[in-house]
Structure formats: structure tokens, C-alpha cells
Subunit: 163 residues, 2 copies
Amino acid sequence: MPSRALPYRPHNHDDCVSQALTDAREICQQKNARLTPTRERVLELIWQSHKPLGAYDVLAELTSEGHNAAPPTVYRALDFLQQHGLVHRIASLNAFTGCAHAGEHHTGMFLICRACGNVLELTDTSVAKAIHDATGAEAFRTEAITLEVAGLCPGCHTGPHHE
Amino acid sequence: MPSRALPYRPHNHDDCVSQALTDAREICQQKNARLTPTRERVLELIWQSHKPLGAYDVLAELTSEGHNAAPPTVYRALDFLQQHGLVHRIASLNAFTGCAHAGEHHTGMFLICRACGNVLELTDTSVAKAIHDATGAEAFRTEAITLEVAGLCPGCHTGPHHE
DNA sequence: GCAGAATTTGCAACATTATAACATTTGCAG
DNA sequence: CTGCAAATGTTATAATGTTGCAAATTCTGC
Ligand SMILES: [Zn+2]
Ligand SMILES: [Zn+2]
Ligand SMILES: [Zn+2]
Ligand SMILES: [Zn+2]
């Protein structure tokens, strides 16, 4: 089980970032998509932690690095990254997080801790099946699923310093 | 099966509205919550159709009726209605829709047609169970679930004027 | 390499959604 | 009636996201 699936536990996060960037380069190359410096830097910023980042947070980072950026700069980069399955938008937070399953066909399910702010992306086939069964029973043609669960992660609800 | 569960099919929508208002009055009375004229009017506006309404759409309606309203007027009414389980916010649309299961403990699942804009709220126990199983396996303490499915409703994907 | 097409970026203004802060009014209990 | 809490009015502002167009860059066919 890759450490990338465990944002709530201590792990070498540099590996998360470098793996995400390596994957992204490969995915873009295979699709003939241009992972330009700005796009790659935005992806890297998004991956700086497992806490989703708002578009204007990204913008502030770019600006502080001397990049002459405006909102469209960021939104365009984020659109590109979303299109190619490299980041997800978390609708309930108006924020963006790196995709933990880039390249794989999947339905993301996001576990959002309201205490520490970290987000874990899960893929669960039985959830996906249950949803498709339910929508199918209504003859609804599913195109996109937004599934975000807010609550407390194990690290936060067992008490930060006990157990 | 109540007609309220079938926004995609022709139905007597006035019944939806009056039932929702009747339910709301009873629920608020039982909880000793004050369903003031503004709050009730906002609820009625939300229920005017099965298409979610943005806060500023509600505001425009109120204004056109001569109500001296500002954004906080609407957001406060919507907060109240959400708190008491009378409306839901659809995160992926930044819009609000009447709760089709007010008073019942439920996990809403929203089927959003991108063509006609109608939203059907479903409650599906096997979906809820699958989600709770998946989050439980990660020792995550679930507090709120956002589940929104975008796609095409039966009326829109079978062709608007055929079978 | 070079001209032309397509994609990407810079830039300014603007649109939409949501909240903060504080004054005023209203409903209700004692 | 009085005093308190809840609700509302009012103004301003914050946060998030988009449009439109011009300039620069990159790709493509030659
Ligand atoms: Zn990590
Ligand atoms: Zn993903
Ligand atoms: Zn109806
Ligand atoms: Zn509901």
C-alpha cells in the first residue's frame, strides 16, 4: 500500500510530490499535452501538502515567487490539470487537491478532515457500484460524481495526543 | 410513490410547493423555530421549481416583489432553512434546492440534469451503507456527505421529443 | 530555417457568490 | 411596561471565478 494513500499518517511527503510530478510528466507526454513550467509549478504547489489549496492561495504563491500572475493564469493552469486528471476540485471547499490516482480511471471519493484539513482520496468500487445502481434505477445517465465526506480523520478524533 | 420524487415527469407541482410549506410549518412549530414571512417566502421561491436557485436569484425575486432585501437577508434565510433541514445547498452549482425528505433523517443524493437543470433528491440506503463502510475502513468519523451526480435525466437523454 | 496556424500567456476589467460589522426593529417573558 | 434575545436592515467588503483581447510562444508543413 503506497504511502500516498495515507495523508493522515506520517510519511515521506517529498515522495508524494516527486511521484506526482513524474506521473504527470509521463501522462502528459503520452497524451501529447504540454505540461508547461507554469502548469507544472501549479501542480507542485497543489501537492505541497494534502490540504486542498484555493486558487487564490496558488496565485499568492506564484506572485511571491516573482511570477507575474493574475487569476486567469491560475484558473487556466487548474483547468488544464483537471482536464488531464491531475488534480480534483473539491466543490465543498472551493479548493483543489492533487489526484492520488492519476492516469487510472476512477471515481474519487474525498475524506475531508475538518480539524486538520487533510484530504484523503479513496477509490471504492462498491460505493461506485451502489451509486450507479441507484442512478440507473432512475434511468439517469451519470456523467460525473461529486462525493465529498466531511468529518474527523483518525488522527483527529482519537485525540491528537492519546491512544 | 409520491409525485414529489419525480421532478422529471409531469406532475402537479403546486402540490409539491404546498406540501413543502405545510411540512415546514409543522417542523418549525415542533422545534419552536420561527418560520418568519421572509423565511417562508424564500422557501416558497426555492420550491418554485425543481431547478436549484442561486442566492442572488432569490434576492432578485424578493427585490422585484418590493422587498427591501440585501444579500444577508437571503443568506440568513437560507442558513435557517438549511439548519432545519428544509433546503439543501448543491455545492457543485452554488445553488439551493428544497429538501424532498424534510423531517426524515436522510443522506441526500442529488441527480442533476445538465440539460434541463432539474434536480432529483434520492435517498438510497445501500449507497449510504457503502459510503459508511468505506469511510469506516479508514477509521474516518463521517459527519456530512456531499453526493451530487451530474448527467442527463431520462427525459433529456431519450431525446426531448421521442419515446 | 521560415511562414502561417494553433496554443499559451499577459493583462485589464468585470461578474458572481458570500461574509463582516453594526445599527435598528421585533417578539416575548417577567 | 421593561428588558433581553432573536431577527432584520444597511453598508461595505471579501472571496471566488470569468470574459475579451492582444502579445508571445510553440508547433507544423515546407
Ligand atoms: Zn504526502
Ligand atoms: Zn483522483
Ligand atoms: Zn414538483
Ligand atoms: Zn433532503
